[in-house]
């Protein structure tokens, strides 16, 4: 099954963040959105990604938006950072999914959906922080890592799961001492993402706790949001509903509030 060596090999092959992206992020961090847009022009794939994203119905624009400075202007500094991290993650995602029944548009939709819902939650919690807003972008890395490590072991895991209720994250931890969220942390480090992002995503696993009450609270909300999204039909069909364990007790005290934010009756 998955070995320490296969984990090391996977981590080693993760590319560092592209130079253009790093520069663009640096401009965004300085609040220089026009400069960031100019810099991003050099990456055609990034341009196409951003154009597709902001023209999704979830952004609600009537006319097509295609100019990069206009796109960055719409997104703002927090939104732009978030979208750039999403783009980095999309570079890591496989061209052909095997373990999960995902494809590029569906994965893209999941990213966009998580971003929007996370913004909604942060607004509700009165939190306005660029890194916290961007933390959600790292979460789908757990899906990409799971796909990469387990795609060759689908039948073995299915056999194991026919006699034992056990999820991929737990299997990985028991085999290697590392779980999918530890792997996300390593990716964040390699991509030089702010440390706070990695901490929040680790807490979103529901397996860990922090001494910091705010980070714990964010971990809870992110954990529940993840399973709220994973309970949607297309993601259930893709096999995302049970690759992680949902810790119902971990989110019990925010459940009612979450349902009210999501306007579920």
């Amino acid at each position: 099954m998955v070995t320490q060596n296969s984990i090391k090999a996977y981590i080693a092959q993760i590319p560092p963040a592209p130079k253009v992206l790093k520069q663009t992020l640096a401009f965004i961090n300085q609040g220089e959105l026009t400069q960031a847009a100019k810099c991003a022009e050099a990456d055609k794939a990034l341009h196409a990604y951003l154009k597709t994203l902001v023209n999704k119905p979830i952004y609600g624009f009537k006319n097509e938006v295609s100019d990069l400075s206009q796109i960055f202007g719409i997104l703002g500094t927090s939104g732009a950072q978030q979208v750039l991290y999403n783009y980095m993650l999309s570079l890591l995602s496989p061209s052909q999914w095997e373990l999960f029944k995902l494809d590029e548009p569906l994965f893209f939709d999941l990213q966009a959906q998580l971003n929007q819902q996370w913004k909604r939650i942060l607004r509700h919690l009165n939190i306005d922080n660029r890194d916290i807003e961007s933390a959600i972008t790292l979460l789908p890395a757990s899906i990409i890592v799971c796909e990469a490590l387990f795609k060759a072991h689908h039948d073995e895991v299915a056999l194991l799961r026919s006699v034992k209720e056990i999820d991929y994250n737990t299997i990985l931890y028991r085999l290697s001492g590392m779980n999918l969220f530890d792997m996300c942390r390593l990716i964040a480090k390699k991509w030089e993402m702010p440390q706070r992002i990695a901490v929040i995503v680790t807490l979103a696993s529901g397996d860990n706790a922090s001494d910091d009450a705010l980070l714990n609270q964010l971990g809870q909300w992110m954990h529940l949001l993840l399973f709220y999204e994973f309970s949607k039909g297309p993601y259930i069909e893709a096999g995302l509903n049970d690759f992680l364990e949902f810790h119902i007790d971990y989110v019990a005290d925010i459940y009612e509030e979450f349902m009210s934010v999501m306007e579920v009756s």
């Binding site: 006699v163 034992k164 028991r174 399973f227 259930i236 364990e245």
Partner: protein, 464 residues
């Protein structure tokens, strides 16, 4: 989503939010077909990790479970819920609750038709008198000792002394129950609970595959708990006569306990006695009489007459069995297991060694049994992936070992299917000592393969 099967109970484990739009996505056509092929007594949906559900969502599950019940005649329902969820389900299906509700999986196991649990003292409460009685009757049929609280006040009082009970059954509802004959194992005796009118339907409700396998793995005493039988007709009589002659081949004994002959012809009794079936008035006459128990074969699971020879077909498939074992160990430990040697012989184990063992039977195009005997430490290492946190609990290790041989059984089944050999696998059986294993396999010729894992040897034994 596939059901996880343990002790003949299949359980779906959905997570998150369940509504009418997403539940159909949880169960693909392949999932439904795979579920229909399961050899189980009960099919449940666990609500442990479900934070939100509505009636539309549950309706989809109920429809699927009901379809499967009509085909497999099994118990269906939901389990693993809290009070709030129980009240919500009860309200949703106020006038139409025809499935069962079990507060926990452990409670559900008390009601499973094929029950290998020790007899348990159970405190029972349900506000409805008819439910209280139904629950108590089913528990009793499954060999447990129910204590019914007649009022909520009495229940709360008794609950104060929870240590007096092995388990407390509350917020549990028995809907349309399965039509399978309840089966339990006490020591080395298999007890079937039969009731009402015994007629031609007995051949549908009696799990003959389970019975045959019990004979194969060495059970020699089969008791029909017939206190609640009103009468028996000629079809049922023929069924039992055939069962008796099949049992004779294995030197096994069939007994009826508590059967009265007010409405059943006395001649049936004489004829069944001629077939070798014995009749007793009370269960205690057998179970509490050690000498009689030994004489009838219920004190050990040794197979005395059934020394069936290994055949060429089975030996030809030996590499597949060994592959399945070795690859399962490698899959679960990421360590290599190697073959040290193989020979056809009686099982040879150092009786002084502290081994634990597990076996699984298979039947169909070919039949036999695989037994694995491990040193304690190796069993623990082998099952680490299933055990999770480090544990020294013998019970947990034994439990994981049973899951482990179940996985091997699953692999054997699929490897044999590649060669168009169809087999079904039985429930795994575990042994806490070498002596217990030897009682089953001693004197039987088989192929013993010594395997090495992590520097220590363990034994693979394939026999019939």
């Amino acid at each position: 989503m596939r059901a996880v099967v343990k002790n003949r109970i299949g359980i779906f484990h959905p997570q998150g939010f369940l509504d009418g739009t997403n539940v159909p996505m949880l169960l693909s056509l392949e999932d439904i077909q795979a579920t229909e092929k399961l050899d189980i007594d009960m099919l449940l949906v666990s609500l442990k990790k479900v934070i939100f559900f509505n009636k539309n969502g549950l309706d989809v599950f109920v429809k699927l479970l009901s379809n499967i019940r009509s085909k497999l005649h099994i118990v269906i329902g939901f389990c693993d819920y809290d009070t709030k969820k129980y009240q919500a389900i009860s309200k949703f299906y106020e006038n139409d609750l025809n499935f069962s509700l079990f507060r926990t999986q452990n409670i559900a196991m008390l009601f499973a038709a094929t029950n290998r649990d020790e007899s348990k003292k159970v405190l029972v409460y349900n506000p409805e008198a008819s439910q209280r009685s139904s629950i108590a009757i089913e528990l009793f049929d499954n060999g447990h000792h129910p204590v019914i609280a007649q009022s909520h006040k009495e229940f709360e009082e008794k609950k104060q002394y929870a240590d007096n009970f092995d388990i407390i059954v509350e917020e549990t509802f028995l809907g349309l129950f399965g039509q399978k004959i309840a089966t339990r194992v006490r020591g080395n005796a298999v007890i079937y609970s039969v009731s009402n009118y015994l007629d031609a339907e007995i051949s549908d409700s009696f799990n003959i595959a389970y019975h045959n396998n019990s004979l194969n793995v060495g059970f020699r005493l089969f008791i029909f708990d017939a206190y609640k039988v009103v009468s028996m007709n000629i079809h049922a009589f023929n069924f039992f006569a055939k069962l008796a002659s099949a049992a004779a081949e294995y030197n096994a004994t069939l007994c009826f306990v508590g059967l009265t002959f007010e409405k059943t012809p006395e001649s049936f009794k004489n004829d069944l006695e001629d077939s070798g079936i014995m009749f007793f008035d009370k269960m205690e006459e057998i179970l509490e009489n050690k000498e009689l128990l030994e004489e009838l074969g219920g004190s050990s699971a040794a197979v005395t007459k059934n020394k069936r020879a290994l055949n060429k077909v089975l030996v030809n498939e030996l590499p597949r069995f060994i592959d399945a074992t070795v690859s399962t160990i490698e899959m679960m430990t990421n360590a290599k297991a190697s073959k040290e040697g193989a020979s056809v012989q009686d099982i040879s184990v150092d009786k002084s060694s502290k081994h634990i063992a597990s076996s699984i039977g298979f039947y169909g195009d070919i039949d036999g049994m695989v037994a694995l005997s491990f040193p304690h430490s190796i069993a623990k290492k082998t099952c680490e992936l299933l055990l999770g946190e480090a544990t020294d609990s013998e019970e947990e290790i034994i439990d994981a070992l049973a899951e482990f041989v179940n996985i091997i059984g699953g692999r054997v089944k699929s490897l044999l299917l590649e060669k168009n050999i169809n087999v079904n696998i039985t429930l795994p059986r575990t042994y806490t000592s070498i002596d217990a294993l030897l009682q089953v396999v001693e004197g039987k010729k088989g192929v013993q393969v010594d395997l090495n894992f992590d520097g220590e040897n363990f034994i693979f034994f394939l026999t019939r």
